[in-house]
Assembly symmetry: C2
DNA sequence: GAAACAAGTTAGCTATGCCTAACTTTTAGT
DNA sequence: ACTAAAAGTTAGGCATAGCTAACTTGTTTC
């Protein structure tokens, strides 16, 4: 019996991710924790848990704590990885405020295909490995310039425009 | 009377964008064109058009062609701009297949905040303006290397790993 | 100009996913 | 242990957004 490709909505992915996070942090997840983390009401959590339990991604017994099944954990990890990768890309490469990123990274992680996400990760990695690594870009008065972090500037031409 | 910040769902934004595109291409949009472009049924289009008409973003009269109001056009342009920027970033900078990008760019354009999108555009611009401009990165057997497009490779260190 | 076909609309159904309110179970305090 | 508070569940409601089926309008074609 091959496992059919489990198809999760963005919402259910959020629940899985939240459960994973809370479990890592506190050992087990209570519906209340999940509700607080996702800014939904407890009643909504019950509904989601039933769906996830039906897909055998969480161990759910009414009035009991929630844990992830191996499948659930695997998927949750993958989503978390996406989230972290996006967070890193937007903060490290694009230099966006982390608090700003959190707002939309959790939405993007549901729409970016795996292979694109991987490419994004590789790109962020490339930025670090390249001789210009650590180079970040900033808008100056007259255009853009490279600015390096902690190493000698190698991107000399760009730096002509730097203040 | 100040115009209240019109808040559109991702779905309605898709409709606006589609109407804009079709109008640019053919002069005016028929519900059929919209339905075909968004892969929905004609009945769904009617519902969306009523909502957009209520927000005064489209001129809608039953059984007639659809046009955008100035407000609708302005918003549609902004969405289209986001779409194009994302498309360009993923194809030019991340070197993802255009056909692949189309699939999720239309979802991302609804979740990326304006200021982040701008940053992304600036970054793509930076990649072009930097001395390493045109440098694209690719995964090699033993890591990553820079590859340039049409100009001399400046990213020499990286090229040590290149095949 | 009338019939046939395409396009558009309406009504009603479905599913997701959230909510509130009322109820049940568990936990905690005394 | 008993009661009160907190946590969890159930039932029912609402909004979005799609669908089908039946009907209306518009356009072609002869």
């Amino acid at each position: 019996m091959s496992k059919s490709p489990i198809h999760l909505t963005a919402s259910l992915e959020d629940y899985l991710e939240a459960i994973f996070f809370i479990t890592e942090e506190k050992g087990a997840a209570r519906p209340k924790d999940i509700a607080d983390r996702l800014n939904v009401k407890a009643a909504s959590v019950t509904g989601a848990l039933k769906q996830l339990a039906a897909k055998e991604l969480v161990n759910y017994t009414p009035y009991d704590i929630v844990t992830l099944t191996p499948d659930g954990k695997r998927i949750a990890k993958s989503i978390t990885k996406k989230h972290a990768a996006l967070l890193r890309f937007f903060t490290d490469v694009l230099d966006i405020e982390k608090s700003d990123v959190e707002d939309f990274a959790c939405k993007m992680e549901h729409v970016i295909p795996d292979h694109v996400l991987e490419r994004l990760v590789e790109f962020a990695e490339f930025v670090h490995k390249c001789p210009n690594r650590g180079a970040i870009w900033r808008e100056g008065a007259h255009g853009y310039f490279c600015k390096t972090r902690g190493i000698d500037p190698l991107c000399k031409k760009c730096n002509l425009d730097a203040p």
